[in-house]
């Protein structure tokens, strides 16, 4: 039996071993905040953190995450450690009024969280290289502004 820890809770997984992490999260664990966009890791809507790394969950089979620590958008605030209902990135997303349709934003927020955990003060080039998620509504200028604000640059 496969086993993963998602947002601090350990789960025994019943899905087949080749099932992408995305569908385990959404269909088995009912964590629908992680979104399906393309299924081939091209759009980033399904981004979660696996052992601290931003990972496109549609393209990674559950068997390769056995015993991993996974954080999804639902667990972000708790992972941040504070008592707030929101992580710093989520709060910045509200103060910069970023989402339009909002569908890609959980993935975007996870990618930005992982970037800032590695590089607290990313340059614009770092942001360009790390944030390759697709937002069809075009929230990008605000995403950049929010990341710059979070980085204190």
């Amino acid at each position: 039996m496969l086993e993963v820890t998602v947002n601090g809770t350990r789960h025994a997984i019943g899905s087949d071993a080749d099932t992408p992490l995305l569908w385990v999260l959404r269909d088995e664990l009912r964590l629908t905040g992680t979104k399906f966009g393309c299924g081939i890791g091209a759009c980033g809507a399904c981004t979660v953190m696996v052992n601290g790394e931003a990972v496109r969950s549609c393209s990674i089979p559950i068997q390769s995450t056995n015993h991993a620590e996974i954080v999804t958008i639902e667990g972000l605030a708790a992972m941040a450690g504070g008592t707030s209902r929101l992580s710093a990135v989520q709060s910045a997303w509200i103060s910069h009024q970023i989402p339009q349709c909002g569908y890609c934003q959980p993935g975007m927020i996870m990618a930005v969280t992982a970037l800032l955990a590695k590089k607290p003060s990313p340059t614009d080039a770092d942001i360009d290289a790390a944030i390759t998620n697709i937002c069809r509504c075009g929230t990008y200028p605000r995403v950049r502004r929010a990341v710059r604000a979070l980085a204190g640059t």
């Binding site: 009024q97 349709c101 909002g102 934003q105 927020i109 942001i127 950049r144």
Partner: protein, 732 residues
């Protein structure tokens, strides 16, 4: 219009004042609406606003949230007139029931008065567009705030306020003239007594709806015009918001679907065995032109589908390609005189006049996909002879009818729940983007799997290949300028685009001799409305050509446009505003060019200036986009800016990269790697400036897009001398 005259409001010429009111309240709708939304402690006022006894105010909106922020803007417009306490206001989609048809866009509650003929110009165009939405809950045509808000929910707020005042007067035994409203309370001035709206709601709901409530003058607004935080954003950053694709029901099954690759093709044969051999797969369901695999989870359904080898017919269209479509369109431009859209003066004679300078150009645009990040999906359950559907949809009443027809039920036996959409851009509509096809698939799968609910999701590849595209089109324009550089003739023929009453063919410039004609060339590829609909191609054609004429005549592209616009017109002011904000004429670094374009659409006027460069052997670089926008007044400045910004990015994406091509009858592209859309690294500096003209409210969701494409190609011409007449630019 065939139906009896419908009236949506009357702009009084000169004053801009608006007379609005309610038609005779239809008691049967009112009862139905109450049944659908009221609870023991919440009361429906004036058909669209629920006031709870604990003071919570819920604004029911007939449109859906596709990301444009209209829910917040509509709630603000109602709350402004209601004098509600904004902290207690929320917005909710009204149920997909006739009782909540968007009558503000249509015949219902709004107004008696003059016919549509009294409205002029741009306003008239929009009112024609409004006619499309009769008896619907349509989100589209950039109408939410401009119509539903302006002519509907604002009036509802004012009516509900008067009902609360009237209830308070009875309660206090006071004259209504001694009462005031503020922050969700009624205040009796002489005594200082205060009654909360919540305490008055039950009594107020029994008051007659005033036929013509008084509206606030603009200068007394305290909420409208402020960028309050959007109501929908918190649930979008926590992952809590449930989109259509997030639907979960007990015992729910999952379906993956594959359609005939050539649009209109039929399923000829499928052997279900390979799919049924896969664990968790329950059923293979043949559909009209498609096949679905149903399983206990979506991944198993996908694996099952991949195991099948279905065969499809091609409807005789297996030889069609994009090139062939262009070839047929070219023939039509050459041989068909077309339908006349506009004819003024005598273009033929002008072209033979001595001294005129003549130019001709032909422009082509490709099919474009909507590509919302939430793929098309629908959940349906068929049980006890009734069908229930849950899906992201911007026209739920029309969809309910279509799905009922598809499965042979009456609309009354179909419950339709419109859920938030993860992007729309023209998709998710029966009328405008062939939603009836996938809704019929979902309904049929649910019928076969009855009584289990089934969530059908199109995979990304299916979403791309089965979309209803912005059509592939072309146009030819011949123009003449006199020796002084004045535009004297404009002769255009174009291939007609997606069906829409929002006409996009005309140009904003004065020209004494003008002929514009259109030709329809049918093909089998599904087409639909795509953000800004036909303005997306017409602005490219017209604003490229006007630029070509300016350069050919040796005049400045800004100055020559400005001179061809009516003196003091909104268009001219917007053009001047963008020139000023972009510092038009100031020196630029070597290799960088500046391009300008102007495009009125959906009652709003937008001009944009782009600075761009294109180094030899490299990719085009967009450095800066400056927009000037006149949408009349602005309800929520931050959302307004966001909409224009988003449309600019979508337009740049289309201009630079996007193209759907047809080969052997089917769509060639299948996902983001071969249909690249703009990402963060490519986003230029964008500035949006608003010109507050006080004109009637125009739309905002689409209007930023049309000028982007020609502003960019004009900038690249200025930078490199290379004129781009065929999109996308990456193919040049």
């Amino acid at each position: 219009m065939k139906r009896r005259t419908f009236l949506v409001g009357t702009a009084l010429a000169g004053t801009g004042a608006l007379v609005v009111g309610f038609r005779v309240w239809d008691a049967s709708f009112d009862r139905a609406a109450r049944r659908l939304v009221e609870t023991r402690r919440s009361h429906l006022l004036a058909g669209w606003v629920l006031i709870d006894e604990d003071d919570a105010v819920t604004v029911l909106t007939p449109g859906v949230d596709v990301g444009q922020g209209a829910q917040t803007a509509l709630a603000m417009m109602l709350a402004e007139e209601l004098d509600a306490d904004w902290a207690k206001v929320r917005a909710e989609h009204a149920p997909a029931d006739e009782a909540f048809a968007d009558r503000f866009l249509v015949e219902g509650y709004v107004l008696k008065g003059q016919s549509l003929g009294v409205l002029q110009g741009a306003a008239n165009m929009i009112f024609a567009e409004v006619a499309r939405f009769m008896s619907l809950q349509m989100t589209g045509g950039s109408t939410a705030v401009a119509f539903t808000g302006q002519y509907g929910l604002r009036v509802v707020g004012a009516a509900a306020r008067e009902m609360l005042l009237s209830a308070a007067a009875t309660r206090l035994g006071a004259d209504v003239r001694e009462l005031e409203t503020s922050d969700g309370t009624v205040v009796h001035r002489p005594s200082g007594r205060v009654l909360r709206y919540g305490a008055l709601a039950a009594a107020a709901a029994r008051e007659a709806v005033p036929a013509r409530p008084r509206l606030k003058p603009r200068d007394r607004y305290t909420l409208v015009g402020r960028s309050v935080p959007r109501l929908d954003i918190p649930s979008k950053v926590t992952g809590a918001l449930r989109y259509g694709i997030d639907m979960v029901l007990p015992d729910m099954r999952y379906a993956a679907v594959q359609s005939a690759p050539v649009h209109g093709g039929c399923l000829l044969h499928v052997d279900p065995k390979p799919a049924l051999a896969i664990k968790q797969v329950e059923r293979v369901v043949p559909l009209v032109g498609a096949v679905a695999v149903v399983a206990r989870n979506y991944w198993a359904a996908c694996k099952g589908l991949a195991a099948l080898s279905p065969t499809y017919s091609d409807g005789g269209n297996g030889g069609v390609s994009s090139d062939l479509i262009f070839e047929r369109q070219l023939q039509a431009l050459n041989t068909n005189s077309g339908k006349i859209d506009v004819t003024i003066g005598d273009v033929g004679a002008t072209f033979t006049r001595n001294g005129v300078r003549i130019a001709t150009a032909e422009y082509r645009v490709p099919f474009l996909a909507h590509a919302p990040i939430e793929p098309i999906n629908a959940t349906a359950q068929f049980k006890d002879g009734r069908l229930t559907v849950w899906t992201g949809d911007r026209d739920p009443l029309a969809s309910r009818m279509a799905v009922a027809r598809a499965i042979g039920l009456s609309s009354a036996d179909v419950a339709f729940h419109a859920l938030p959409c993860g992007g729309c851009f023209g998709a998710r509509s029966v009328k405008n983007s062939a939603a009836d096809i996938y809704l019929a698939h979902a309904a049929e799968i649910a019928r076969v799997m009855s009584p289990f609910p089934v969530k059908m999701i199109r995979c990304r590849e299916e979403d791309f290949t089965q979309d209803a595209f912005r059509p592939q089109l072309m146009s030819r324009i011949r123009g003449a300028v006199d020796p002084q550089g004045k535009l004297v003739a404009w002769e255009q023929i174009y291939i007609a685009g997606a069906p829409s009453l929002a006409t996009a063919f005309d140009i904003p410039y004065s020209v004494p001799n003008k002929s514009i004609r259109s030709v329809t060339v049918p093909h089998h590829v599904r087409i639909g409305s795509w953000r800004s609909v036909n303005s997306s191609q017409h602005a490219f054609w017209a604003e490229s050509f006007i630029d070509e004429l300016a350069h050919a005549g040796g005049t400045d592209p800004y100055a020559s446009r400005r001179a061809a616009l009516a003196e003091g017109s909104r268009e001219q002011r917007v053009l001047e505003a963008v020139a000023k904000a972009s510092n038009w004429g100031a020196p630029l670094p070597v290799g960088v060019g500046r391009g300008i374009a102007l495009a009125p659409s959906f009652g709003t006027i937008v001009a944009e200036v782009i600075e761009a460069s294109w180094a030899n052997g490299g990719a085009p670089q967009v450095h800066r986009v400056v927009a000037a926008v006149d949408c009349g007044d602005i309800v929520h400045p931050d959302t307004a800016e966001q909409q224009v910004e988003g449309a600019i990015i979508m337009g740049l994406s289309a201009a630079l990269h996007e193209e759907i091509t047809i080969r052997n009858g089917h769509v060639t592209q299948s996902s983001f790697p071969d249909y690249p859309v703009l990402k963060l690294a490519e986003i230029p500096e964008i500035e949006v400036h608003f010109v507050r003209s006080g004109a009637p409210l125009g739309g905002l969701g689409e209007v930023g897009l049309p000028p982007v494409v020609p502003a960019l190609t004009n900038a690249l011409f200025a930078a490199t001398g290379r004129r781009i007449r065929r999109l996308p630019i990456c193919n040049v």
